[in-house]
Amino acid sequence: MTDAAKRIVILGATSAIAEAAARRWAKAGGRLVLVGRNTERLEAIAADLAVRGAAAATFVALDCASADAEAELATIVADLGGVDVVLVAYGVLGDQRTAETTPQAAAEVFRTNFTSAAAWCLAAANVLERQRSGTLVVIGSVAGDRGRLSNYVYGASKAGLGVLVQGIAHRLAQQGARAVLIKPGFVDTPMTAAVARKGLLWAKPARIGAIIVKAADKGGPVVYAPGIWRWIMLVIRLVPASLFHRTKL
């Protein structure tokens, strides 16, 4: 697979981080299939990737959170004639307060970020295992590293997904394929538009996209994006509860 165009499937392709990664893969001449809900937006992204150099950029309009992952992925991969990268990039932030008072709201966060994403991950793992090649890249979050009062519902959904991907990485390592969990810190995207964005720790989607593309080629099963978050989260995990519980983090 060194000379042929890389075959890439992106789930949640209209997310800012996914689009940033897609632009890099397009520039390198990749063949991309974009999966998302909004046809007009997928069309706009596909046209852009084609101009940027993608060997092909097509899209499938469906709701990842409710689709039959196994069947849909099988069709997409059959059309591509195999797959080199599956990127799982969709997710919702939800609202912590609403999730605490409305059970359906919390269930919706878990269904989108964990239950449905896990189905896609397991489907992709089966494909990659059969191929004995390729990489599953999943966007998790530093919020999954320690439950905090400000966003533990979202954090729990990403933590669960993280353990699943960790297990898939273990399984695929023995089969010639890989799985990588990306843990972005603060990223300046429409998903975080409601959060006050200030300070040096906020990264642009383009930076996270570059890290994803690199992680799809090589590196460890858990990639903090940018790398500084590995150390920040290490400190946050080490703070004793007696101290941590006095904060509003």
């Binding site: 209209t14 800012a16 909004n38 007009e40 937006r41 706009a44 992204i45 046209a47 852009d48 101009v51 940027r52 429409p190 538009a193």
Partner: protein, 421 residues
């Protein structure tokens, strides 16, 4: 502040009743208040930076309005295409370039960028419309150079030009007086596609207007290399406001002039070096310190322009105020469809002044009187202070633009120049 990520979000953003008015902004390189909307909201267009279509055989490019000229060039240059014209920085959005009807060193050949716009997507009064020279021509003419007032420019359909290289064959000619400038300029507009002169406006008397004339044509080597935005030169902190004063600028100009005077030179330069020298130094504006700088760019119609440019330069030399970068260029005859377009036949003089407050504004009022007397105009993209009557007199079709204005859109510039006192 709205930050749309997709074009379909624009109609709702313009109609939002959380703000009294909106204004689309790009990379915020306008010097004055045409990209500000104090009492209202802004729509940051930089998230709409996608390419929609690019035909490598015809050079037709369709892009979302928030993409930068820099990103466009990275895509099109390797295929042998270039922007029809470009301002002195590539860090402007294409939407902003159209809304200000920008011009470049090749105005005498290409006109302003509006001359090469085939069509525009415009969100106006909550509707997404397609306009062009033959489709809603009046609205199109009001939108080219229309400072974003007729609605939100959603996408731009632009005709690129084929170039034989990504480098230019550049000739730098030192000259000692304004008379020499006019002689070189009139000869060069025939022989060269790109012309401009840097002038030392600290020297008066017989030396008034001395400087270095640069003229260039595209090289013909067939080598196409796009630029890189990686820059190792940056101004890390704001300089003290006093750093650029009459003495330091005079000294710089003297050294710069002597350096050029040593020899008439010819060299091959990459387009990034030739068109965008200041883009190589990020945050160059910090050289001016906290008080910043003011730009003054005027155009003087032909006929009287030689005498008027001399009066302006004499006035500046006498004022004791330093202009670090002064640029003089002759415009061509090609007219833009834009009703509020700044470029017009004649000569344009662009000056940077460190902001010294009252005395700088007083000098500019003196220059205003000379420009107005000559029937000239100031460039709205670089203005934050021209009196409303001067704007109305030098852009006589402003009422036609006002008639096409989207009632939901407004800017600080427009409130300043259009409202009656």
């Amino acid at each position: 502040m709205f930050r749309p990520a997709f074009r379909d979000q624009l109609p709702a953003a313009t109609q939002s009743n959380t703000v009294s008015s909106v204004l689309a902004t790009g990379l915020l390189r306008s010097y004055g208040d045409s990209c500000l909307n104090g009492p209202g909201g802004l729509i940051d267009m930089t998230g709409l930076d996608r390419l929609i279509a690019f035909d490598r055989t015809t050079g037709r490019l369709v892009v979302e309005a928030g993409i930068s000229l820099s990103d466009i060039l990275k895509i099109v240059v390797p295929h042998g295409w270039f922007l029809p014209t470009t301002p002195g920085t590539r860090f402007v959005s294409i939407g902003g370039a159209v809304a200000n009807d920008v011009h470049g060193k090749n105005h005498h050949r290409a006109g302003s960028i509006g001359c090469s716009v085939r069509a525009l997507g415009l969100v106006t009064a909550g509707e997404r419309r397609t306009i062009g020279p033959d489709a809603e021509a009046a609205l199109f003419a009001a939108t080219i150079g229309g400072l974003g007032l007729t609605g939100i420019i959603e996408w731009v359909d632009l005709q690129l030009v084929p170039v034989p290289s990504s480098r230019l064959d550049v000739e730098i000619i030192p000259y000692g007086s304004l008379d020499e400038f006019w002689a070189i300029a009139s000869e060069s507009v025939v022989s060269h596609e790109h012309t401009v002169a840097w002038i030392d406006c600290m020297s008066g008397g017989a030396h008034t207007g001395r400087g270095a004339f640069t003229r260039a044509n595209w090289a013909t080597d067939g080598v196409y290399e796009a630029h890189s935005d990686a820059s190792w030169k940056a101004v890390p902190v704001e300089f003290p406001s006093i750093a650029l004063n009459r003495l330091t600028v005079s000294a710089f100009n003297e050294v710069y002039f002597r350096a050029h005077q040593l020899q008439r030179r010819r060299q091959l330069q990459h387009y990034a070096t030739y068109f965008y020298p200041l883009d190589a130094v990020s945050s160059w504006n910090r050289l001016y310190g906290r008080r910043g700088m003011l730009q003054y760019q005027c155009v003087i119609p032909p006929g009287g322009d030689r005498g008027v440019i001399r009066s302006l330069l004499d006035r500046i030399a006498k004022s004791g105020q330093a202009s670090f970068l002064a640029v003089l260029k002759t415009f061509g005859e090609r007219t833009s469809p834009g009703l509020l377009s700044f470029p017009r036949p004649g000569s344009t003089l662009a000056l940077d002044f460190p902001n010294r407050g009252v005395e700088t504004l007083a000098l500019m009022r003196t220059l205003d009187a000379i420009v107005a007397e000559a029937g000239g105009a100031l460039y709205p993209a670089k203005d934050g202070r021209m009196p409303a009557p001067m704007f109305r007199q030098s852009f006589p079709r402003w009422r036609e633009v006002a008639a096409c204005k989207d009632p939901r859109v407004n800017s600080d510039f427009w409130r300043r120049v259009s409202l009656d006192d």
